[in-house]
Symmetry: D2
Subunit: 339 residues, 4 copies
């Protein structure tokens, strides 16, 4: 396609995340247009398409992908619908940005990996947006430079003011720690081989039945040990931070910054309330990079393999939560497509 | 115009700043396209237009503005050419984003103010991009909230590794301090009434004939006192910071942050090397906001009056440098168009 | 004794630590004098006593304690000599400041506990000097205030530029982690019930045979989980830090501070090279508080029980290093003397 | 005297500052004893001496200095009484630590300088305690190292929560800015040649008649320009900071630090409420260093010349406040005794 023609995108799923991506593509991203949307709820689909020139509304994802002017697909439907949407996109050879998780479990994720491997070329970028955060990018760059020698340990912090109703122990791993799983694999360039979970007496602010906080430990193929403080009802704000300990130095990203205020007997500043504020730039940058790469005819960013490996590590993490013991991560063989 | 049609923009001037804006409009900004470019150097104009679908190249700014599909103008030519370009845009009723300075001196800036006032509506946004920096925006928001009471003083820091060859004392005011002049007026919502300049013994790193650093002091209509450390050959990096002192608290923006590194016996991080890195987001945001407002049919941001008032304060600043005494700023009456 | 008469102190051991305490008592501490010194090496003892009015030199600790004007004892001899020195002090009813470790193992430490318990009153303060560091004191005060609710986790960092020759895995626990063991017990007011040790691939800078860094995990009677990054060959400096995670907030001590420097493209400052610089104030404050309490006729600070409990946790830590599994800490019953 | 005999000190003045010094000498300082006290109020003198072995109480400073066992004098009476006390000490050849100000005005300070110069040796250390603050000491060390080249500018901040009743504009200079005057002279090793004072519209929190805040500017013999934000009713705490701008780098001391807390949607920490907390260590260190030097038979620290030069700069500062113009500092010739 001409690099001057906007990329026509079918957005699958128009709930909270899908609607936000539609807004982004329509008003923030350069070189993209929303060409079609799909949602099981026809009213919601129509509402999402309203006011966007030439954007059609559908209830069937495959129909949206077949709409005129569609060059690529952004999958933002619930996780259980991802495998079908990806299969439809593969049938049409369309590049995809697929929100995380790739699929809800390792078995289905492996099927997607195998399907893409059969195609013989990558079509999918998985939505692990932390890889597009400026701080993490600078940390990655520093580690890759070798300035601090080999990386030995990672210390992650993942704090959230409060969990929504119905949040479970398994969701602590699948929805929250999955980010540290991806960041760990990406920063180190290693696979996670085992997970332990240590559970202190829960906070009084944790909902009944939820073991919050937890200390989640990873072992890697490179022999690194990584710990994550997961604290999802800390009350005071959203904090995501990572310190990488190398042989000759450490580097930390995620300290709050911005305005330094002196008032009321205190120095300091405000903590971002949630991931939307904390990672707004990362979401914008992720989508822009995907659009740019797609217009150039390339696929970059987190792959289906990354989505599968994260799913496998999550399954081990949930087992480790339940048993209190070290749980090994078992991975299938890595297809050549993913190096 | 339809909000779905990209805004067609004529870029006047394709030197360093113009070329960067063309890149931005073409690959970063949402909802815009470069429809025409103009440069006195026809080769440079042709080179700038190359590879952009439907973009025409011109040597005459007015011809570029008359090209098909031009909805708005971005003026990035040298300052002395601005008045003519603005006059041409006014003749066509085209909205303009005009790089600072509005014009090189207060007299010509006042002519532009009067011309726009005669039109009876605003067409021009002046390129004081610091108003679009996240830190300054948060500082402005805090001051406007009244949380710290009335603002009493501002402390500015403006440091640069080195000046280019041929930099003069007057350029210290006109090219560098002009940003503190605009930020002071904007943050406080007051005019600057007088300027003093104190000159320490220059740094050995200052080029012969340049009095660097300097301490530049402003008085305002609101009785505030603002100081600026201007140090353009500090060697160690680019730092722009501002602390606002209110009746009940202070707030500071511009501290370096990002990765915190421990290595080689030191904690800390790197300093941005220049304004491009420091204000990249501000430039992007400035242009996006201008495109968005223009597509909505409105004009926002710094006005011709802001450009004129800055020029008048710069003239006082250069006088104050020369005489060593307090120099009063004299402003013409403010047309109703600018409130 | 009159509160105006200086406290006469016998210093047992005049090696590096003993000599430093003699210097401190002689030139820094208020209300104390060195009345006698003892060292197996008579020349070293004589050298230590030289120039101090009325200070006698001995080779036998008991003789030093029996010297005229001795009101209290500071034990700074090697750990294996502590039990005998404490027994001699108990026989004379003399108050003691005993450098850590109380004794080299839990069995001998328990004998000291039982001997003091038989006396029916405390005589010993153990030299866990971190309890006298300003940062840890403020952290303790905050946790005790309940402002952040119950404490759930502690994150410790313990970094050192390099280990001396001959340093072993067991010494990582007994000489280094012992401080985190004491701080954990003191901050939380709980006993440590189990220790795990996770061992990443060692740094290339670690001497052959030393598994450095390590991640050491504690469980406590209160159900807290505490992690310690122990990294004794990090190269870049000495860093000891602790973050306490409570139900409603976290607090961290140990970030480097002091001068903030901009130079050479970097912001930041220097890292203290070692524990002498980092904890100089804590050593001074520890000794002054001990002298003040002793002159008032009271005993405060870390007790023999604290020394014993640390020894028991160290033994579990060394077991955990060897087995790779969780090692339980087994404590004898706590005598009433220690509440 | 034997270095093992405590230095016997007569404390002149037992008000707030005197009583604090008596406490310090009696319970904190090594190698000193309070041998006599003097106060115009005999009850207050007796109360101050109570409980200190061998300490006698007097109403006449000269009588206190003549008491048995007095080796040195600490003058903490009100400023107008200093000249007489110093004269009495000179008559007896006693070393003196004299609280600032040396005397209340430049004329009387010059008389003291001349009297000491006639003695032909220094007896007096003036109580500019900031020179003993760790942060300022490190800043001084850095500047003296030449690592940042020649110092070009200093930026001082001096903030206080509130002024006591009856505080006047002149006291802003004489009681507050006098510290920046001394620090500027000491850090730079230059004299202050002129003072300007800029006065913004006062804070609503300033008492009627007090122009608070003010911006006070110094010129120096070395051509440096130094600014001080003086804000004595800032409400939020006590902050004293200084940034030195050199040819190749800057360095700042005085940022608050200590515990970093996350709670209630904010990161940061507490601001010290007053100079007692902020400079506690500096007061202790100042007195210890004076006692140590006196026992060695030497006189160090800020001299009578420093006290006189500060008084002369204060007089210029008060003139500059009143006139709004630059006020030159006029100094007498420097006696050889002060190099």
């Amino acid at each position: 396609m001409s690099t001057d023609t906007p990329l026509g995108i079918a957005v699958i799923g128009t709930g909270r995340m899908g609607a936000d991506h539609i807004r982004r593509l329509h008003t923030v991203t350069n070189g993209a247009r929303v060409a079609a949307v799909a949602d099981l709820d026809p009213d919601r689909a129509a509402h999402a398409a309203h006011g966007i020139d030439g954007c059609t509304a559908h209830t069937d994802p495959a129909a949206a992908m077949a709409a005129p002017g569609v060059d690529a697909v952004l999958v933002a439907s619930p996780g259980p619908a991802h495998e079908a949407a990806l299969t439809a996109a593969f049938a049409r050879g369309l590049p995809v940005l697929c929100e995380k998780p790739l699929t809800p479990d390792a078995a289905s994720a492996l099927r997607v990996v195998e399907a893409e491997a059969r195609l013989g070329r990558r079509l999918v970028q998985v939505g692990f947006m932390r890889r597009y955060d400026t701080g993490y990018l600078r940390l990655k760059e520093l580690l890759d430079s070798g300035a601090h020698g080999r990386t030995l340990m990672l210390h992650h912090r993942h704090r959230n003011p409060a969990t929504p109703p119905g949040f479970t122990d398994a969701m602590l791993i699948n929805d929250s720690v999955v980010h540290e799983i991806d960041v760990t694999r990406w920063l180190l360039g290693e696979e996670i081989t085992a997970v332990h979970v240590l559970r202190p007496t829960p906070s009084g602010a944790a909902p009944a039945g939820l073991g919050d906080p937890q200390l989640v430990l990873f072992e890697t193929t490179g022999g690194q040990i990584c710990d994550t403080e997961l604290f999802q009802n800390c009350g005071f704000g959203y904090q995501v931070a990572c310190e990488a300990v190398g042989e000759r130095g450490t580097a930390r990203t995620g300290d709050d910054h911005g305005l330094l205020v002196n008032a009321d007997g205190r120095w300091g500043g405000t903590i971002t309330p949630g991931y939307v504020e904390r990672f707004a730039d990362a979401y914008d940058r992720q989508v822009q990079r995907w659009v740019d790469a797609t217009r150039r005819g390339t696929v970059e960013g987190p792959s289906c393999w990354d989505g599968y490996a994260a799913a496998a590590a999550c399954e081990a993490g949930v087992r480790a939560q339940t048993t209190g013991a070290r749980a090994a991560v078992e991975l299938a063989g890595r297809p050549g497509l993913y190096r």
